[in-house]
Amino acid sequence: MIVAFLPKLAEALRAVLPVFAISLFGGRNGGDRTELIVPLLGVLGGFGAIGAYVTTRFEVADAQIVHRSGWIMRRDRRIPLAQIQNVNLRQGLLERLLKVVTVEVETAAGKGAELRLSVLSEPEAERLRVELMAEAAHPHEATRDEDVYRMTTADLWLGAVTEHHAVAFLFSALPFLGGARLLAATAFWSHLPLLARIVVGGLAAILGLAAGWTFGAVQYVLRYGGFTVRREPGTTRVVYGLLTKVQVAIRPARIEYALVTSTPWQRLVGREALSVGTAGAFGDQGRIAKLALMMPRAATPAALAAVLPGLDLGRLAWRPFPTRYPLVILARGVLGLLFTSALAALFYQARGVPLRWIFVVLPFVVLGSTIDRLAGARKAAYAVDEGFLAVRQGFFRRRTEFMPMARLEVVMLEQAPWWRRGDYFSLVSKAMVHAVGLPIVPGSAAREIERTVEDAARRRRESAVLLPD
């Protein structure tokens, strides 16, 4: 029972820490200590967790997972195993010490995990995972488990240093920004002579950046250390994390989206990153699960073929975007810039709004992505065949998206009046959760995609008698 309590208590403490930090650095010295309510709530939550733990029962029966919980309000939730998209095993530091695991069951419904079973013993969690994913296993598949990809230590450090940590840094610095300390610092700074201002400001910027980068790199190593992809019958398992250990179990048959990205730094060392998406979420990774963070480029085609069976990169016929594609990017960029600038101007004048500087950053983000797309416009391309839709965009940060036609549900086309004459469309193809967008395609290609979706549906209908899905 105490085992059930401890991780929850730790969770509560973690939730409280940023509040403490903000109240400490926010300049509210000698305040009324209302923030103490938060840890109190945490302790109460801990006791609540014990209650939940004691009253929860679950079992796997009739190809369903049955989960009964609650004390006053009872809940009986049943999820058919066939509906499960992925199963995530998560172990915080404390949970690892206590040798217990939290299991998250993800279906396509809603946001977040549909079922969270905390404080399972390690072998129990492992057994449950195998049981839940058993439906996906095909008898003709190789039964031997094998490591498909293991991130080397060199790649881990390379990734840690080359990943840009601007966002991580900003968030880690949040408690320190916008508070009384920053005000005092800027007041001090503005009283200096011009030359000293430049020197002090520059030094502060460099120091801040270095500190933020180191912070981000360490975080990256702790988060992704020991990154391994294993293939097992019917599932692919991704394991990572030095402190919090996460195991994501994906059913390859459910993958509806794959994304290959590379930054200039990654290209410099010949690496790419591969992520996939199903209709379920992957815990704190959100809708997209990373399958390889720093993969040698030569390994990409094989890795892609492994996650999207039938995808042959060499056979895809890439077509360039229509020549007016840069115009589209430019128009969208200008609109976005106008909008975010207006927002920034509006919020920057509202003195009381906290974090208003975030709005000032927005136009630069839009500008950056527009420049990136414009630079990459010449190389941007898309490919359509009976199996897949693929789109390649970006210059500095290159991204290639893949969507299997069999997973596609809806094709949405839109034609602006000024595109009538040239017969152009903008197209979004949607699977259950993920979508691949083509900002501009010729009508012929749009109709081709529609036809492919129709053909895929026909094939499913004709084979439905033989292979119920």
């Binding site: 549900e409 809806v410 086309l413 009046p417 979706v453 895929a456 026909r458």
Partner: protein, 149 residues
């Protein structure tokens, strides 16, 4: 199995006109009241003519609604449901029929007044679209065609 291009019932135009008329009327009340109040307080009486802009706008809306209705078509092929509409920005959606999870048949007060319903199409991931102005029999048949065995 029908594969011909179908259109919403012409009466749906009346539904839309009524619906928009109601919202314009609701909008007109505070505007007219405000203008009258301002004029009694010494504002230029010419402002009263400004209220006339609303009927003008409504006329414009009526024209666009007519164009919108004219542009609305849908088609049920053996494997897909296609919807297209929009007179300025043309929109077109193609859904694989076996991906449709459920259909909602809904009707507002004006829909009921003219004996129409509209059908909202849902897949697992999204609401794909709304086919307006269907006769209840057609909606029921559509439901059977799309979700029946």
């Amino acid at each position: 199995m029908t594969t011909e291009v179908e259109r919403p019932d012409p009466k749906v135009l009346k539904v839309w006109l009524w619906e928009n008329g109601l919202s314009y009327a609701l909008l007109a009340v505070p505007i007219a009241a405000g203008t009258v109040f301002a004029v009694t307080r010494g504002a230029n009486p010419l402002w009263l003519f400004g209220t006339l802009a609303l009927p003008g706008l409504y006329l414009l809306t009526a024209i666009t609604l007519r164009l919108e209705w004219k542009s609305w078509t849908f088609r049920l092929t053996p494997d897909t449901l296609e919807m297209s509409h929009g007179w300025l920005f043309r929109k077109r959606r193609v859904v694989a029929r076996d991906r449709i999870q459920h259909l909602d048949v809904t009707s507002g007060p004006f829909d009921r007044r003219f004996g129409l319903v509209h059908v909202v199409v849902h897949t697992a991931g999204a609401t794909v679209g709304k086919i307006p102005g269907l006769k209840p029999e057609r909606a029921e048949r559509l439901r059977e065609e799309l979700l029946g065995p």
